[in-house]
C-alpha cells in the first residue's frame, strides 16, 4: 500500500504541475453541460440539466480514465516502467498506483463539473445521494482506468493509444443513456444502450436522484469492475513477469 501511494503521489505531483492539462480536461464536459444541457430543446423532461448531469459526470470519468491510459504508455516508452520494475517493491503496486491516481483525478474533475451543474441550476444532491454518487463514479473510474491501463500495456506507442481512445470514447458515450431516457430512444439504440457499461453507472446515479438504489444496474457495474480489475492484474503480471 505504501508503494501504491508513492506511485500515486508521483503522478499527482506531475499532474498538478502541468497546469494546462488540469484545466483542459474540464473543457469538454463543461461544454456539454452548458451547450447541450442548457440549450437542447427537449420534450421528455422539464429540466434537462437535472437529467443530463449524471451523464456528464460519468462522461467526465470516462474521459479522465481513457486519457489516463497514456500515462502508462509514456512510462513504458520513456523507460520509467523498467526502472520501477527493477525495484524490489511489489510490481502490482505500479498498476494499482495508476488506477488509483486516474480514478482520483477523475473524481476531482467530476467535482468541478458537479459544482458547475449546481451553478447552472441543477437540483442539489442530498448528502446520502452525494456520497453514493461518488461511490458509483469511483467504481466506474476503477473499471475504466483498469481497462485503459491494460490496453496501454499492450499497445506499442502513444499514437496507437490515442487512436484507440478516440475510437472508443465517443461511441461509448453516444450509445449510453447519457443524453436521453430509454423510452425516447429508437429501438436499435435501446438495446445497445442498455448493455453499455457507461449506462450502468448513469442509470445507477439517476435512480439515486429519485431516492432508489438500482441494484440490477449497480450489481452489473460491480461485477464488471471486479472482472476487469482481475484481468488487468493478471495481464500486468503476465506482461511484466
Amino acid at each position: 500500500m505504501k508503494d501504491v501511494l508513492a506511485y500515486f503521489q508521483r503522478d499527482l505531483l506531475r499532474w498538478v504541475r502541468g497546469r494546462l492539462a488540469v484545466v483542459s480536461a474540464l473543457v469538454m464536459p463543461a461544454a456539454w453541460l452548458i451547450f447541450v444541457g442548457l440549450a437542447l430543446p427537449t420534450t421528455f423532461t422539464e429540466n434537462y440539466i437535472d437529467f443530463i448531469t449524471p451523464g456528464i459526470l460519468v462522461l467526465t470519468m470516462l474521459g479522465a480514465s481513457l486519457q489516463g491510459g497514456s500515462l502508462l504508455i509514456f512510462d513504458r516508452i520513456l523507460g520509467f516502467l523498467n526502472k520501477f520494475l527493477a525495484l524490489p517493491s511489489s510490481r502490482e503496486s505500479i498498476l494499482f498506483g495508476k488506477i488509483l491516481f486516474i480514478t482520483t483525478r477523475g473524481l476531482i474533475q467530476a467535482t468541478v463539473i458537479l459544482i458547475l451543474a449546481f451553478i447552472l441550476g441543477a437540483a442539489l444532491f442530498p448528502p446520502m445521494e452525494l456520497v453514493l454518487t461518488y461511490a458509483i463514479l469511483a467504481l466506474f473510474g476503477l473499471l475504466l482506468s483498469a481497462f485503459s491501463t491494460t490496453v496501454a500495456l499492450h499497445l506499442s506507442d502513444h499514437d496507437a493509444y490515442a487512436a484507440f481512445s478516440a475510437m472508443v470514447s465517443m461511441p461509448l458515450f453516444f450509445t449510453s443513456s447519457a443524453l436521453m431516457p430509454y423510452e425516447v430512444m429508437p429501438a436499435w439504440l435501446r438495446g445497445l444502450a442498455y448493455l453499455n457499461p457507461v449506462s450502468f453507472a448513469i442509470d445507477s446515479i439517476r435512480a439515486l436522484q429519485v431516492g432508489v438504489i438500482l441494484w440490477s444496474r449497480l450489481g452489473a457495474l460491480l461485477v464488471l469492475a471486479a472482472v476487469v480489475i482481475g484481468v488487468s492484474v493478471y495481464r500486468f503480471r503476465k506482461v511484466t513477469l
Binding site: D3, Q9, R10, L13, I77, G79, N82, A86, L241
Partner: protein, 316 residues
C-alpha cells in the same frame, strides 16, 4: 557478484544472446558491442526484467528467475533512456525511490546521495532546468539510495558532452572504490579503455573476448597500419597482413611488427598499379581490437529507438 552460465535469449528466430557465460567480480565491467549485439538484452535478463530462454544467471548468489525479488534487493538499474520526472524536483525524484525501496530515515539518505552526486545545491529545482549530465547524475543518486551491491548502467554517457561524460565516469570509479560492482554497457571504446577493469566484447549475441583493456590491446602484439592509396586494389594482401576494413579513403590492416611490413605492402600495391599516398603504423586502440573482433562495424540498426524516445520526451 555476477555469474552467468549459458545464458540465452531467443526472440522468434533471432538469438539475441547466445550461451553467454561470464563471471564478474568486484570491478567495473564493461560490456561492449555493436548495435543489436545483445548488450541491452543481457542487462535486462540480469536485472530480472526479461526471462532467459535458457541458461542461468546468479547475482550475489541469487538466481535471476527463481529469486528475482532477492536479486532486485541487491541491484540498481539505470536504463539508457534518462527517465527522470522533469516536473518534479531533484529531491522529489530521489525521495520517490527512497520510499519505494522502503529506506528508513529517508530524508537523511536522500540528502546524502544528492551530495555524493554533487546535486545538493540544485536539489530543490525542477529537473526541467537540469542539464543532461545532471539528469544522469540524478539517476545515479536514485540508484544509490538503497546501497546496492551491483549497479547496472546501460549506456550511461550516451548523448552527453565530453565534460559531463568525464564527470559521470569519475563518479562511477568512485562508487567502485566504495565497494560497488558496476556492470556497464557502452559504445564508447575510449571510455571503456580508460575506466573499466575488464571488458567483454559481444558480437551477434556471442561473447568474443573478455579481458582487461590493456591485455586485449597487447596480447595479440599486432600493429595497425593505415594506408591511403589512389588507384584500384583487388582485395588481396601479402602474407602476415590482415585487412580490417576501410574508413573513408583509408584502408586499415593489422600485422605483427607493423613497421617491418611497410616496404612489402608498398611494393604489393605498386605491383597492382595503385599509388600509395600515405602510410602510418601505430599500436592498436581498443577501437581496433573491437573492429577486428566483431564481424561488421556498422550493423544497421532497424530503428533508432533512442532518437524516438528523445523526441517523445520533448513532447511530454
Amino acid at each position: 557478484m555476477i555469474e552467468t552460465q549459458d545464458l540465452t535469449r531467443v526472440y522468434g528466430s533471432l538469438c539475441a544472446v547466445d550461451e553467454l557465460s561470464l563471471s564478474v567480480g568486484n570491478e567495473i565491467f564493461g560490456l561492449l558491442g555493436p548495435n543489436g549485439s545483445g548488450k541491452t538484452t543481457t542487462v535486462l535478463m540480469l536485472t530480472t526484467l526479461l526471462r532467459p530462454t535458457s541458461g542461468s544467471a546468479l547475482i550475489c548468489g541469487h538466481d535471476v528467475v527463481r529469486e528475482a525479488r532477492e536479486v532486485r534487493n541487491h541491484i540498481s538499474y539505470v536504463p539508457q533512456d534518462m527517465a527522470v520526472d522533469i516536473k518534479l524536483t531533484g529531491r522529489e525524484n530521489v525521495a520517490l525511490f527512497a520510499r519505494l525501496y522502503g529506506i528508513e530515515r529517508r530524508d537523511e539518505k536522500v540528502d546524502e546521495v544528492l551530495a555524493i552526486m554533487e546535486l545538493d545545491s540544485r536539489a530543490d529545482d525542477l529537473v526541467r532546468t537540469y542539464s543532461g549530465g545532471m539528469r544522469r547524475r540524478l539517476e545515479l543518486a536514485q540508484a544509490l539510495v538503497h546501497e546496492p551491491r551491483v549497479l547496472f548502467l546501460d549506456e550511461p554517457t550516451i548523448g552527453l558532452d565530453v565534460a559531463a561524460r568525464q564527470k559521470i565516469w569519475e563518479h562511477i570509479r568512485a562508487l567502485k572504490v566504495r565497494g560497488m560492482t558496476i556492470f556497464v554497457t557502452t559504445h564508447y571504446m575510449d571510455e571503456a579503455d580508460h575506466s573499466c577493469d575488464r571488458v567483454g566484447i559481444l558480437d551477434h549475441g556471442r561473447l568474443v573476448a573478455v579481458d582487461s583493456p590493456a591485455r586485449l590491446k597487447n596480447h595479440r602484439g599486432q600493429d595497425i597500419i593505415t594506408i591511403r592509396i589512389s588507384g584500384s586494389w583487388d582485395g588481396r594482401v601479402p602474407d602476415g597482413v590482415r585487412f580490417l576494413g576501410d574508413e573513408g579513403e583509408e584502408l586499415v590492416f593489422c600485422a605483427r611488427d607493423g613497421s617491418a611490413m611497410v616496404p612489402g605492402l608498398v611494393r604489393h600495391f605498386e605491383q597492382q598499379g595503385a599509388t600509395v599516398r600515405s602510410i602510418a603504423v601505430r599500436t592498436p586502440t581498443l577501437d581496433d581490437i573491437f573492429l577486428s573482433l566483431v564481424r561488421t562495424r556498422d550493423e544497421p540498426g532497424g530503428f533508432d529507438d533512442h532518437r524516438f524516445r528523445t523526441m517523445l520526451r520533448r513532447r511530454s
